[in-house]
């Protein structure tokens, strides 16, 4: 019984100290992220008719590719090139189960102020000095398109 508690305590301390990156031994070989050819395209389904998110401009899609895809992946599945190194995995934007519990305002603030400021993972930096509010609103709409879900 004691050993279970000790393990739990140990894990919690490690998680707290390691901030956002995975503290495991780097010598463990990791598979590189899949190249674009390996990412199955047919899994990227356009939004169904039921939910109609605000139209997403090409500029917003480019912004997502330029900045967000580094962690969230080019199709938003949370499998970007940094994903394997992070203790808290980047959010999968194609899954509704968590995102539909968030309001658009909450997503907006997470992007603008960063994870730490909104009580989420500190790996997510604040983008408020890089992106304009209108760009961030665009990204929230794009996430809604990716998850096929609406805000709570």
């Amino acid at each position: 019984m004691t050993s279970i508690w000790l393990k739990f305590l140990g894990t919690s301390i490690l998680l707290t100290l390691s901030a956002c990156t995975n503290d495991s031994d780097e010598s463990v070989h990791r598979e590189p992220p899949p190249t674009v050819a390996e990412v199955p395209h047919e899994t990227f389904v356009p939004a169904p008719e039921v939910v109609k998110p605000a139209p997403v401009s090409q500029k917003t899609r480019d912004t997502y590719q330029w900045y967000c895809s580094q962690c969230h992946g080019i199709t938003g599945k949370g499998d970007g090139m940094n994903a394997l190194q992070l203790a808290v995995p980047p959010r999968n934007h194609t899954k509704a189960d968590y995102l539909e519990t968030r309001t658009d305002q909450q997503l907006f603030e997470a992007i603008k102020l960063g994870g730490l400021a909104v009580g989420r993972a500190p790996c997510m930096p604040a983008w408020g000095n890089t992106l304009k509010d209108a760009d961030i609103t665009g990204l929230v709409n794009y996430i809604r398109e990716l998850c096929h879900c609406e805000g709570a």
Partner: protein
């Protein structure tokens, strides 16, 4: 009149000499991947070199050109196809004499000469280092994209940005400071978020990054 002619001659000599410098880099094909002047067409294959003289530390640069290693594990982030995780081509290794000549030229390339250079003070004490590490990892999320060092002294961190594992030997503190405060002076659009840092915080981050040296790792 003689003086004027002399002046023209000196100017001409100086100009051709400066030109010869850059041409040495071109002879070695540096311009096939790197931009050598801020006026060059946007070049997306490898980092810009027109400020190499204020970015890199001299011993590191000389050693790198002879024995290069990969710093950007997913390639240069300025590439348009970067998010698709390109496998970076290793930098060519130059023979010792050429490496030194190329380094000599690169070290002359500067963009910003700060009016009042910052004094970055002494290396961080252990206690201050821990606090700065929290800034680096938690407050500004740097380790989501950059490799730093974990509590066990091993490299850890994201891979989309250049590795900072040996940044304390690679980069000049003033350059890191300038980059954090006004990256747009070097590159019109990077993939790193901009931060509105006060000078004190920026200095702490620079001091922390300067502690990241291969020789300090276990």
């Amino acid at each position: 009149m003689t003086l004027y002619r002399l002046f023209i001659c000196v100017l001409f000599f100086w100009a051709t000499n400066a030109h010869a410098d850059i041409s040495l880099l071109k002879e070695n094909h540096c311009d096939q991947c790197h931009r050598l002047s801020s006026g060059d067409k946007e070049q997306n294959l490898a980092p810009d070199l027109f400020y190499a003289g204020e970015k890199f530390q001299e011993p590191w640069l000389r050693e790198f050109l002879r024995n290069p290693h990969i710093i950007r594990l997913n390639g240069y982030s300025g590439r348009m196809d970067f998010p698709k995780a390109i496998t970076p081509q290793p930098h060519p290794s130059l023979p010792e004499k050429v490496a030194d000549e190329v380094a000599d030229v690169l070290l002359t390339l500067k963009l910003l000469e700060p009016e009042t250079p910052i004094n970055f003070g002494e290396p961080l004490s252990k206690g201050k280092k821990v606090r700065a590490k929290i800034l680096f990892e938690r407050n500004f999320s740097c380790s989501a994209c950059h490799k730093g060092v974990n509590l066990a002294g091993k490299p850890h961190g994201g891979e989309s940005g250049p590795s900072l594992f040996n940044a304390g030997a690679r980069l000049q503190p003033q350059w890191i400071f300038n980059w954090l405060q006004s990256p747009e002076k070097y590159r019109s659009k990077g993939r790193m978020p901009r931060f509105d840092l006060d000078q004190e915080t920026a200095i702490k981050l620079v001091q922390y990054i300067m502690t990241l040296k291969k020789e300090n790792m276990k």
